[in-house]
């Protein structure tokens, strides 16, 4: 690798050619503040906060986009630099609503942190303030364009990572606004509610639709029986909200914390993840053996399902009819569970804690009422759960370790890995292999489908069926590439797993945010750290195959009878509908 030598603040640094001044400074341990910059995602030099002096260059230059050259001399801490950075942030603040105390991002806002870091005590500029309407049009994401600082991180993640392009930068000058085309509300465009924009927003301009109040009210209502489910990926990230290092699994403390919120039963989405494998695995075998539509595509990720409905309706018949674990749980929480425990299902309030914003949308889909009620009454993101734990005054880190309630709290390692990309595929393979061959699987780890590579492929020999070809994609940008390949006949598979978010659910839009500066300072990708934690936990579990879950066996014996049976069909399976990508073109046909 060709190396370049430069001097930053009198310190000599050697970095690979093609590095930016910002990257070189980081290597030298010199801190340059950033705002719009987001490692691997947004590098456009839009905000000018990271400006530095570079000898022989004109004026000040943004270090996040400026490439290093041999012999370059950089100064990051001069009066001119400090004044320019302050002026830039003051200008942003001069058109920013000063409601920090009540903002959802208070103490967790990158702009606020930056203002403090740069020592901004007053705002010297005064002018007009933006007055855009809020977008509360949909069940998942709230947009407040008045808080937007036009950093365009959300635009980058929506367009370049996800390939959705629901958000863009519209208009010009003071009227500039990050919004869907024509300033339409998100509910009327091709947004899939994945919430990746929410994850990268440095301020309070993008957040999840708050459902915490609804949950508090149910907890306070003595008539309500509140049952909670927690998704696999939540336990791999919740600790970050309480100062624990990224990659800490906090399952048992999380259970203890949720119990102390005053709910009635704490169950596990992992239980229905195992159930999903039973249904989806059998659906796969059924399609394979009866000439059904292949490749079978997973349907656990509601962002992916909506993307398929709007962008690739030609693949709707490939989607598994199995509901997501959240919705399977919801359907059982108001049928099987109350029947078994002698509770009036009308009194049950079912809450799910999800790493996801799209789950808030999924629970409100009209198909999701098979129990005779709304199957899931409220969805909290990982962030919202943390906020409720804090509001309740629970000292998370000193909690004892506690177990889930029975019977819907028993699960396997196969269910746990649903939280990472490749996990559903691996869990399915563990079960499908043993069900088909009748033999015990020697090696449970299907490492080919693990990791953060965008598209992963594997071929598994499942005698007597033969070679089963599978593919895994995470992040909708990668999904698009995979689907195009399949569409053009360039690749053929039997089974495909797609997750809307990069890394799978551990990188979901409802997970704790990892700020721009944090992403810069971490040696590893934070998604890798969460992923590793999940696989380590899987390894330590006694049960690692869904079909070995005793509570699932009992569920079939007592209630469902058999996978793909009549009751399963009614409660655990669903259907999909093509939806127009652009409403205006759907209407154009004469």
């Amino acid at each position: 690798m060709e190396m370049v030598n430069l001097t930053i603040d009198g310190q000599e640094v050697q970095v690979p050619k093609g590095s930016t001044v910002l990257e070189a400074a980081q290597k030298a341990g010199i801190d340059i503040p950033t705002l719009c910059h987001l490692k691997d995602i947004n590098k456009i030099g839009a905000c000018r906060v990271c400006v530095v002096e570079i000898e022989k260059a004109r004026g000040l230059q943004p270090s996040c986009t400026y490439p290093v050259t041999e012999g370059m001399v950089v100064r990051t801490n001069t009066a001119m630099v400090r004044e320019a950075r302050k002026a830039v942030v003051e200008l942003i603040l001069s058109n920013h609503p000063m409601e920090c105390l009540t903002c959802s991002r208070s103490t967790d806002c990158e702009l606020q942190a930056l203002a403090k870091k740069l020592g901004i005590k007053e705002i010297r500029f005064q002018g007009e303030n933006s007055n855009f309407p809020m977008d509360t049009s949909n069940p998942a994401i709230v947009r407040d364009p008045n808080k937007c600082i036009l950093c365009r991180r959300c635009v980058a993640v929506c367009n370049e990572v996800q390939g959705v392009g629901a958000l863009g930068l519209n208009e010009r000058g003071f009227n500039s606004i990050v919004a869907p085309a024509f300033q339409h509300p998100l509910s009327e465009v091709n947004c899939v509610y994945c919430g990746q924009c929410v994850n990268v927003c440095p301020v309070g301009a993008l957040k999840e639709k708050d459902e915490m109040q609804k949950v508090w009210e149910a907890i306070n209502d003595p008539e309500k029986h509140v049952v909670v489910q927690t998704a696999p990926a939540v336990r791999a990230a919740l600790g970050e909200e309480f100062g624990l290092p990224i990659g800490t699994i906090v399952t048992k403390k999380m259970v203890a914390a949720i119990r102390r919120l005053g709910i009635d039963k704490i169950f596990d989405t992992d239980f229905t993840a195992d159930l999903t494998i039973m249904e989806e695995g059998n659906e796969f075998l059924h399609r394979l053996q009866n000439g059904g539509k292949l490749p079978l595509m997973t349907s656990c990720s509601p962002g992916w399902v909506k993307y398929c409905e709007q962008h690739y309706p030609e693949f709707l018949d490939n989607l598994s009819t199995a509901k997501s674990p959240q919705q399977m749980f919801g359907a059982l929480a108001k049928t099987y569970y109350p029947e078994k425990c002698g509770i009036d299902p009308a009194k049950i309030f079912s809450v799910s804690v999800m790493p996801c914003t799209a789950k808030k949308y999924e629970r409100q889909r009209p198909e999701m009422m098979d129990s005779g009620f709304v199957d899931v009454d409220a969805v909290l993101t990982t962030r919202e759960l943390a906020a409720m734990i804090k509001e309740a005054g629970i000292d998370f880190n000193s909690l004892p370790e506690e177990d889930y309630d029975l019977p819907m709290g028993i699960s396997t390692g196969a269910a746990l890995i649903f939280g990472v990309t490749g996990g559903v595929m691996e869990a399915a393979l563990r079960t499908v292999y043993e069900v088909v061959t009748g033999k015990t699987l020697e090696k449970l780890d299907f490492v080919e489908v693990r990791g953060l590579e965008g598209i992963k492929e594997a071929t598994v020999d499942v005698p007597p069926v033969g070679a089963v070809k599978v593919a895994v994609a995470h992040g909708l940008g990668n999904a698009k590439k995979l689907l195009e390949r399949i569409k053009k006949g360039e690749a053929e598979y039997h089974f495909v797993e797609i997750m809307a978010c990069p890394g799978g659910c551990i990188g979901g839009g409802g997970q704790p945010r990892v700020t721009g500066p944090e992403r810069m300072s971490l040696e590893d990708n934070y998604l890798d750290l969460r992923t590793q934690a999940v696989y380590n936990e899987d390894k330590s579990m006694e049960l690692r195959k869904s079909h070995e879950n005793p509570a699932i066996k009992t569920l079939y014996e007592e209630y469902l009878v058999k996978p793909l049976g009549e009751k399963s069909h009614h409660l655990l399976h669903t259907h999909y509908q093509a939806k127009p990508k652009y409403q205006v073109l759907a209407e154009k046909e004469c």
């Binding site: 367009n159 392009g165 629901a166 519209n170 085309a181 465009v189 091709n190 073109l585």
Partner: protein, 171 residues
């Protein structure tokens, strides 16, 4: 996918056929968004949402990207333009000679604000910067026709002139 009704009658190219033709012409060329939109606007007259969405689909980019470009550049319009576009110069020379008041008079007489089009689709009112005809200040152009050394009292005459022209064409 393309709307067929106008195409089948054989009368004229439908707006979606226009887009097909223009986008195909620029196929594979980097940075062709602006020329494509420019040609489509010339042929269709303006760039409403369905036209932008169709361009986006045809070019394989999100609608948000197309709209970002359209809403950035002043030369693109999402509203239909009137048959006669009145552009009043608000450059320095014209302005000091009272073109601002002339613009106000047009707004009053036509019942529209600058940037808008009359309900009958006849007039669009626009303000522009220097037309390079300061000797004629205050000056305006209606489509390609220049009207100079204007007085406020000229306003009704100009409007009537084009109304009459339109009536004549119609008969």
């Amino acid at each position: 996918m393309s709307c067929q009704c106008q195409g089948k009658t054989g009368e004229k190219e439908s707006k979606y056929e226009i887009i097909d033709r223009v986008v195909d012409k620029y196929q594979g060329q980097e940075g062709s968004m602006i020329p494509v939109l420019h040609e489509v606007q010339q042929a269709v007259g303006y760039l409403p949402e369905d036209v932008q969405a169709y361009v986006a689909e045809k070019m394989g980019v999100p609608l948000s990207e197309v709209y970002g470009v359209v809403s950035f550049y002043a030369l693109f319009t999402t509203e239909p333009i009137g048959k006669y576009k009145i552009s009043i110069c608000l450059g320095t020379a014209c302005y000091v000679k009272g073109s601002g008041r002339i613009l106000e008079e047009f707004e009053k007489k036509l019942g529209i604000k600058v940037g808008e089009t009359t309900k009958d689709g006849l007039f669009t009112l626009e303000a522009c910067r220097c037309l390079g005809a300061c000797g004629l200040a205050p000056v305006l152009v209606v489509n390609e026709n220049v009207h100079g050394r204007l007085k406020i009292t000229d306003v009704p005459d100009i409007i009537e002139k084009y109304r009459a022209m339109s009536r004549e064409e119609a008969s």
